[in-house]
């Protein structure tokens, strides 16, 4: 039970990172982006590629940073992966979403994002194969943090949690203390007024993708680090991430953070009762529960 709670928190941080970018895009670009979770896959694989590259070019970097299985090479690769993923997000926006936005409505965007997700996911399968992969073959043993009740934690998980929290704190500071943050919030609230106040919309859209893509990359790598890397990361995480945004209230960044943790915890606790085969359905049950009890989520404003 407490172990489930713990695992839930650890998974929750990954979901939060994914949900922040998704909820920002949903709020500011006004569509539910079903391709967002594929950015996590892109991030995970980009890091895999650069991890391999750095380790091969500079073998000393392949050393793990004790007590983690994370290597120096992978740490560097994460940063490159954030850039690659953000770049991919911007490219998809420029080539696909921008055009669909211009000729269709918001729902055409939702629809297009379905297609984009399908293409991205299967391109990844085609390039990297259907098999699962790991960043490190070294086995890092879980640390026993309590014998009774038995509580186990892997150092990588703790690292992922702490890093995720730090990233969220940085994002919070940017949004609440800098004019860049005000600009983002201004665009979300009233794009026209934001424009006449001198904010260039296309830059802000790019920024949303940069933040969303960067966070998704980190989430993807952490998922790969604590589970495994496979082309279906996006498929498996899309619903939990959406559930997190709905729990938090679409558009609320703090809601997305909290929603991610709640969905992570709830999913793990649910498996105490349900057989593990049912886990893909749990986010849907959470969505249903939220829609029944509080449709606008924890922090969402009512919006048509």
């Amino acid at each position: 039970m407490i172990q489930s709670l713990l695992d839930g928190i650890l998974v929750g941080s990954i979901l939060s990172l994914g949900a922040i970018g998704l909820t920002m895009a949903m709020h500011m670009l006004r569509f539910a982006n079903f391709a967002h979770a594929e950015l996590l896959s892109i991030g995970a694989y980009a890091a895999l590629v650069f991890d391999g590259l750095f380790s091969a070019l500079f073998p000393p970097l392949a050393a793990a940073i004790a007590p983690l299985s994370l290597t120096w090479a992978l740490s560097l690769a994460i940063i490159i992966s954030m850039a690659v993923t953000a770049g991919s997000a911007i490219l998809v926006d420029r080539f696909v979403f921008a055009r669909v936005r211009a000729i269709g409505g918001e729902l055409s965007m939702v629809f297009a994002s379905f297609g984009v997700a399908l293409v991205l996911r299967n391109l990844i399968s085609l390039i990297f194969g259907l098999k699962t992969q790991l960043y490190s073959q070294d086995i890092v043993f879980a640390v026993v943090i309590s014998a009774d009740p038995l509580l186990l934690v892997k150092p990588d998980q703790v690292f992922a949690l702490v890093a995720a929290l730090v990233i969220m704190l940085i994002l919070h500071l940017v949004l609440s203390r800098t004019t860049l943050g005000y600009s983002l919030r201004a665009v979300a609230e009233n794009p026209t007024l934001a424009q006449v106040s001198g904010i260039r919309l296309s830059r802000m859209i790019a920024l949303i993708w940069i933040i969303g893509g960067g966070l998704a990359a980190v989430a993807g790598v952490f998922y790969g680090l604590t589970n495994q890397i496979s082309p279906v990361i996006g498929r498996d995480l899309v619903l939990p991430i959406f559930a997190a945004t709905i729990v938090g209230g679409i558009g609320s960044i703090y809601g997305a953070v909290l929603g991610g943790f709640l969905v992570g915890i709830a999913s793990n606790l649910a498996l105490v009762i349900l057989p593990s085969g049912y886990s893909p359905a749990v986010p849907f049950l959470i969505i249903l529960a939220v829609l029944l009890i509080r449709p606008n989520g924890l922090f969402g404003e009512a919006r048509e």
């Binding site: 669909v100 409505g105 939702v110 297609g115 391109l123 085609l126 959406f242 986010p283 849907f284 969505i287």
Partner: protein, 325 residues
């Protein structure tokens, strides 16, 4: 020769069944502007319920009510409708995105449930113990398939005519008004969420019918038949044919299903053995690209909607409503 004809009968049957589902989706998306990201759940609900209601008793899972076949089929449609009602009631008064997410979620949950709940529907092994109606009279061969095709085509025509009438009726006009401009529609004095719910449930019932026919045809259904790709395929059929146009929906179904079947055949025949594993992957990419490409370059599809959509996205005031400001 008989092989070719027999294959054509098989192909046409499956395509016609799918066309019925596409018509259901057309009512939701094409006519009302509702995004259903989980078509397969409603299709699957119809399929599973039909077999459970119409099948013979089974030791290890629910079923065996041995209902008279038309009743079983109606039961399947009812099951799909109930599921749609549940999702619709919860989401249709909210922002559009919620319906998309919830329907996507219901499909994931449905597949998960069917895969795991062995006592309900056989789990991963699927649902067995269904006797195809009139099998004793018609046998299992070509004759049966021909008669079944006639049955499916009849239902396709019935659905087609029904929907054609529906969208020309005042109710259909209401749907388009809601799709184009909810505020204006509200001023007509109808509650848009009620009307949207009706359209959503009706479309899903039609998908349930398609699912029931599909399951009847194979006398078997398993979680492998309710994978998310089916939703994508059905969407591609609609967008290629032309959202809002029923003839387009049917045309799109035959094109996409033909393309899907042909590409599968070609890949399995000509692709190197080691690449065979990736046949599906390549096909999925193609479907995704078709969807995205259509939305980017020809969103109206091959046969565009003929009824009242002006450039502006506002409804043309063909019918004097007199209440637009």
């Amino acid at each position: 020769m008989i092989g070719v004809i027999s294959y054509l009968v098989f192909f046409t049957t499956v395509a016609s069944i799918l066309a019925i589902a596409v018509l259901g989706l057309n009512l939701q998306w094409g006519n009302t502007g509702l995004f259903n990201g989980g078509v397969v759940a409603f299709f699957g609900a119809g399929a599973y319920a039909t077999l459970i209601l119409g099948g013979t008793p089974q030791a290890d899972h629910l079923g065996g009510f041995e209902l008279f076949y038309p009743l079983a089929l109606l039961g399947g449609m009812l099951a799909a409708g109930l599921l749609a009602w549940l999702v619709g009631v919860l989401t249709l008064r909210l922002r559009h995105d919620y319906l998309a997410i919830a329907t996507f979620g219901v499909a994931v949950a449905f597949e998960t449930l069917m895969r795991n709940a062995e006592g309900l529907a056989g789990g991963a092994k699927g649902l067995r113990g269904f006797e195809r109606p009139l099998r004793e009279a018609l046998g299992d061969g070509f004759t049966y398939n021909l008669v079944f095709l006639a049955f499916v085509l009849t239902l396709l025509i019935v659905v087609y005519v029904f929907l054609g009438r529906l969208i020309r009726s005042p109710f259909g006009r209401m749907l388009r008004a809601i799709r184009e401009d909810e505020v204006a529609a509200k001023s007509l004095g109808k509650s848009p969420s009620r009307v949207r719910l009706t359209a959503f449930v009706t479309g899903s019932v039609i998908m349930g019918l398609a699912g029931g026919l599909y399951a009847t045809f194979y006398a078997f259904i398993s979680p492998q038949d309710v994978l998310p790709i089916l939703t994508f395929q059905i969407w591609a059929m609609l967008i290629v044919g032309g959202a809002g146009n029923n003839a387009g929906a049917v045309l799109g179904t035959f094109i996409i299903w033909g393309g899907w079947t042909a590409s599968g055949w070609a890949l399995s025949r000509f692709a190197p053995i080691e690449a065979q594993l990736y046949t599906g992957t390549v096909q999925f990419i193609l479907i995704g690209m078709i969807i995205v490409g259509m939305l980017m370059w020809r969103p109206q599809g091959l046969l565009p909607e003929r009824l009242v959509v002006s450039q502006s996205g506002k409804p043309e005031n063909k019918h004097k409503t007199g209440s637009r400001r």
